[in-house]
């Protein structure tokens, strides 16, 4: 997830620079804070909302609803009945399905036949070669060997290879598709205009939402898992390819033009080579996104490490889940370092000798792989799950309840439910539909644009008409609480990290790991500490969103022009004055991005919380997946999409739009 966050933050931060001139002026010249109209609107809402809740009945009226579940169910039935016979399936979808299965199986068989030594050796040789050979390549190769060996050591070699096979196919497909779309978007303004909103929307959607249609068409199994992963992983490749093509140094392109190059010549000799770095970064992020889908893919039948985590979640096996999660992190680190090193190399040619050495190492490893046992030797494994589980047990035993003064996690969970979650949910449920819409519209308009406000209202209307107003408000209340927790903690830690060097050094590796861990990992300990239910989902969501919020906050505060900060220091400002008067206002765009990211990430986990009794829309999706109530599940999926769109619009600052 770290990839998306950084990319999105960069995109938004970049455009915020150009767009926030008017806002800056407003802040610069008026010490009286926001415009009066803001206060008027907020005051109006404060008066209106309680009144409306008292005088009108809450929720969405049945008369305005549309029954979507029944037709969807019958459609699902039709699909299931005709899956084997209808030409659409026979001649098109079945082929996709077969190709997906065959290619993943093929790669898996290949990996198996290489043997563990072969995989290790080839990964190392490849890492060394793409990192530019020589000394620097050694480090990258070392990381590759270390990561893979550690996976073998904790006895996860075999599921890791299954996951790797899926990753190889998914990333290849996503990279090819993303490059093609990116070429279109990079070369044609029309394509860019068409693709951009699609990519923006895809980035805010929890992938959980579009699992069901795929399951409906392809059934559970490799094809669904693969396609979900590809869909989820494609946007960064498109975005960065387009960015790279558009960002090529104008001086170079003009020079090429002045020499009489045709557009095609320019593309091949200048634009694509100049975009190399961005495209490799895109590949890097695509890999990271694909890896973050491993567990979700397992929910629809992908197997591998994801399956280990998913079953650990079901059996509350913390150790097993964490170790499998860390194995995913290790794969991520390995692939991340390798692709990042390839990107940094800036195209300096590695000589033939380097290719020769790499090929030799690969060949030797291959031979070794044939001689030694195919799978990781049993005797070289260590059991780390048991100590992890006993550690977790110790934590639960000591903190769950009866802790003097503090009360214990069980009591906290109770309090959070009684005093925060329940009242908020009750309040949202009690509000009449139109006042919720008014609230969303006003907020979206105040923060962003009237266009955002219209989108937010339409999304809410869609939720109401589908008849899932109740569960949606239920989910919304959890999202709001989790976001509040994540922002409170995140801003505090962010300020700390921005001001205190060692704090950032300490937090960074922890957060790097946390951002790569699959969301599901967080659910296991919180369920043990807080019981299954809303609080577990909310806590896991807040923890999951925390790294991104802290990171963006820190970056925003640190990116404040050093000259401005120095000027304020030279005037004798105290630390607190510097934060409040210089860093905070100047970092505002970045902080708004942090809020936006926090909301998007929180929603993704709150929805998954349906698996651990979080209720709401997530539970409906789970029901759709497990109890074949496809109509309910699909409707809930649409509801999640709408909720995501609305929340994104509510937190998307207007400065993110580029002035024409």
């Amino acid at each position: 997830m770290s990839a998306t966050t950084a990319e999105k933050a960069a995109a938004k931060g970049g455009s915020a620079d150009t767009g926030s001139g008017a806002e800056d002026e407003r802040q610069g010249t008026t010490p009286r804070g926001p415009l009066p109209v803001t206060w008027l609107v907020l005051l109006g809402l404060a008066l209106l909302l309680p009144t409306s809740a008292l005088l009108w009945s809450g929720g969405w009226p049945d008369s305005l609803g549309v029954d979507a579940v029944t037709p969807l169910d019958s459609f699902a039935d039709w699909v299931i009945e005709n899956r084997q016979t209808h030409p659409l399936f026979l001649y098109f979808l079945l082929h996709i399905s077969n190709v997906a299965t065959d290619s993943v199986d093929g790669v898996h068989n290949l990996l198996e036949s290489l043997g563990w030594a072969g995989v290790l050796g080839i990964a190392a040789a490849l890492a060394w070669y793409v990192a530019g050979a020589g000394r620097k390549g050694l480090k990258t190769a070392g990381i590759a060997v270390g990561a893979l060996a550690a996976i073998g050591l904790v006895d996860l070699w075999s599921p890791a290879m299954e996951t790797l096979a899926l990753m190889v196919v998914a990333v290849t497909a996503a990279a090819v598709l993303g490059t093609l779309l990116g070429l279109a978007a990079g070369l044609s303004d029309t394509a860019q205009r068409l693709l951009r909103p699609v990519l923006d929307t895809m980035q805010v959607l929890p992938s959980f939402a579009y699992l069901l249609p795929l399951v409906l068409i392809f059934g559970t199994g490799t094809p669904s898992a693969l396609i979900t992963t590809v869909i989820y992983a494609v946007p960064p490749m498109v975005r960065l390819t387009s960015l790279g093509l558009r960002g090529g140094a104008p001086a170079v392109l003009e020079a090429s033009r002045s020499l009489g190059s045709t557009p095609w010549q320019r593309l091949w000799t200048a634009r694509l080579p100049l975009a190399r770095k961005e495209m490799l970064l895109g590949l890097n992020q695509t890999i990271m996104m694909a890896l973050s889908m491993v567990v979700i893919a397992a929910v629809v039948g992908a197997g591998g490490l994801g399956e280990s985590i998913y079953s650990a979640l079901k059996s509350r096996d913390f150790g097993q889940g964490l170790v499998a999660g860390l194995a995913i992190v290790l794969i991520a680190v390995w692939l991340d370092r390798t692709t990042a090193a390839a990107g940094e190399r800036s195209g300096a040619a590695t000589g033939r000798w380097a290719a020769g050495i790499a090929a030799m190492v690969g060949a030797v490893a291959l031979a070794l792989g044939q001689i030694l046992s195919r799978s990781w030797p049993e005797s070289w494994t260590v059991d780390v799950t048991a100590p992890l589980n006993s550690a977790m047990e110790w934590v639960v035993n000591n903190f769950y309840q009866d802790v003097p003064v503090l009360g214990g996690t069980s009591a906290w969970a109770g309090n959070l439910t009684t005093w925060v979650l329940a009242p908020l949910n009750d309040g949202l449920q009690a509000l009449p539909w139109w006042s919720v819409m008014l609230l969303a519209a006003s907020l979206a308009w105040l923060v962003g644009t009237w266009r955002g406000a219209v989108t937010a209202v339409l999304a809410l209307a869609c939720i109401g008409m589908l008849g899932i107003w109740g569960p949606s408000m239920y989910t919304l209340s959890q999202v709001l609480v989790a976001v509040a927790i994540a922002l409170l903690l995140g801003f505090a830690l962010g300020i700390l990290a921005a001001r205190v060097g060692w704090a950032e050094k300490l937090l960074r590796p922890v957060f790097d790991t946390m951002q790569t861990l699959p969301q599901f990992i967080y659910l296991i300990p919180v369920v043990q500490l807080f019981n299954a239910g809303r609080v577990a989902a909310v806590t896991a969501a807040a923890v999951y969103a925390l790294p991104a919020v802290v990171r963006i906050t820190t970056q925003g505060l640190k990116n404040v022009a050093p000259a401005t900060l120095e000027a304020s220091r030279s005037l004798g400002a105290t630390t607190w004055q510097q934060i409040r008067q210089v860093q905070w206002p100047l970092a505002r765009p970045a902080l708004l991005v942090a809020v936006n990211q926090g909301v998007v990430l929180v929603l993704a986990v709150v929805v998954i919380g349906g698996l651990v009794g979080g209720g709401g829309l997530g539970f409906d999706v789970v029901k759709g997946l497990t109890a074949s109530e496809l109509g309910t599940g699909l409707t809930a999926g649409v509801g999640i999409v709408c909720l995501g769109l609305m929340l994104d619009k509510l937190t998307q600052p207007s400065a993110a739009r580029k002035p024409q």
């Binding site: 001086a251 170079v252 002045s258 009489g260 190059s261 000799t269 080579p273 100049l274 195209g347």
Partner: protein, 375 residues
């Protein structure tokens, strides 16, 4: 606008030299307007008279080049000079239609450039006109050699041949031994030498320079200027040179077009510009120019007195006054101005000092020569 386009033969510029076989570029009434519906501006008399700011306010358009006419003669270094925003970089790009002119006529060797189809235009850019850019525009992922060969590659030349030709060029611009480096391993001056080599390797008729040395350190800049002077002396290639640096313009230019707000305010030799500025703007511009570096001894000479015809140092008529001062100071006597063995006149310390002080000089060299003859 059509009226302007229809002009088949270029008209002489008022006060300029008529176009003839020796001109490379002929530019008449050229306009480049950026903005919405830019086409209507040049033909509309009520708009063309507006100042830049007024025009922007009224129409939202910016006229980067306004009604510009000039000729570039074969073998000369034609300098276009102006401050940033004066439209000089836009002007030079319109010559090969890297920026499409809005109206006016533009021809090269008598061929209408604006009427060229895509193929002809590419051929023009590939073979006849090369450009050197301020920010070099080198391909960062290629070696020096491959960068120099880039233009030949675009022409479709085979790899071995183009690399051979590029290798020959490496030595010519003083980059021996650096052929396998990458641009980011070179200094700014070296990078610009690559840019120069890339432009030269296609053996173009005309070289366009767009502020090529502005991004370089002063010392390197001087080296590069010398390099250009040397190249021009050796090959006599026509050059159009854009700069915002007056001393660079005076040093390199055979003729200088001084631009302001998209218009040429004065066109003439360095001496004419320094010595008889067309208006206050130009006067202000050249105020600090050391005149002895620009004015020639031909302008400062007087008729020889008795006995002076055979004594004293001999100077060519295009020697600068600074050189004259040196000769007079060394010899301790007036110096003779000699052309093809013929005595034209004499410069003494009084006349030379008058130039430095900026007083009492004939307006042109022709007039000075006439004065001498009459005396």
């Amino acid at each position: 606008m059509t009226a302007i386009l229809d002009k088949a033969t270029p008209e002489p510029i008022p006060g300029g030299v008529p176009a003839d076989a020796d001109t490379v570029f002929t530019v008449r009434n050229l306009w480049k307007v950026f903005g919405p519906k830019a086409d209507r501006i040049p033909g509309d008399a009520s708009l063309t008279d507006l100042s830049t700011a007024e025009l922007r306010e009224r129409t939202g358009c910016t006229a980067a080049v306004r009604d510009v006419s000039f000729d570039v003669r074969k073998g000369e270094v034609f300098v276009v000079m102006g401050l940033s925003g004066s439209g000089k970089s836009t002007l030079v790009r319109t010559l090969t239609r890297l920026i499409e002119p809005t109206s006016g006529t533009l021809s090269m060797d008598g061929e209408d450039v604006r009427a060229m189809d895509k193929k002809r235009l590419l051929a023009l850019r590939r073979n006849r006109v090369s450009m050197v850019f301020q920010h070099f525009g080198l391909l960062p992922h290629r070696t020096v050699l491959d960068n120099i060969a880039y233009g030949l590659e675009i022409q479709g030349m085979a790899k071995q041949e183009r690399r051979d030709r590029a290798a020959a060029m490496v030595a010519k611009v003083g980059l021996d031994g650096l052929g396998e480096r990458r641009p980011d391993q070179l200094s700014g001056g070296q990078q610009q030498r690559v840019g120069l080599a890339r432009a030269l390797v296609v053996d173009p008729e005309v070289l366009l320079f767009d502020e090529p040395f502005s991004a370089l350190d002063p010392l390197i800049r001087r080296d590069m200027q010398e390099e250009v002077i040397r190249l021009h002396r050796d090959e006599g290639r026509t050059m159009v040179f854009i700069t915002h640096d007056l001393s660079e313009a005076l040093k390199l230019g055979d003729r200088i077009a001084l631009m302001r707000d998209g218009e040429i305010v004065q066109l003439g030799t360095p001496e004419e510009i320094v010595d008889s500025p067309a208006n206050d703007y130009v006067r202000d511009f050249v105020r600090d120019v050391p005149r002895e570096q620009v004015v020639t001894v031909a302008r400062a000479m007087r008729p020889p007195h008795d006995g002076e015809a055979d004594t004293g140092a001999a100077l060519p008529p295009d020697a600068t006054v600074a050189q004259g001062i040196e000769a007079v100071a060394r010899g301790g006597a007036p110096a003779r101005v000699v052309s093809d063995g013929k005595l034209l006149g004499v410069v003494d310390h009084e006349r030379l000092l008058a130039v430095v002080a900026g007083i009492g000089l004939p307006a042109t060299p022709e007039q000075a020569a006439e004065d001498v003859v009459q005396a």
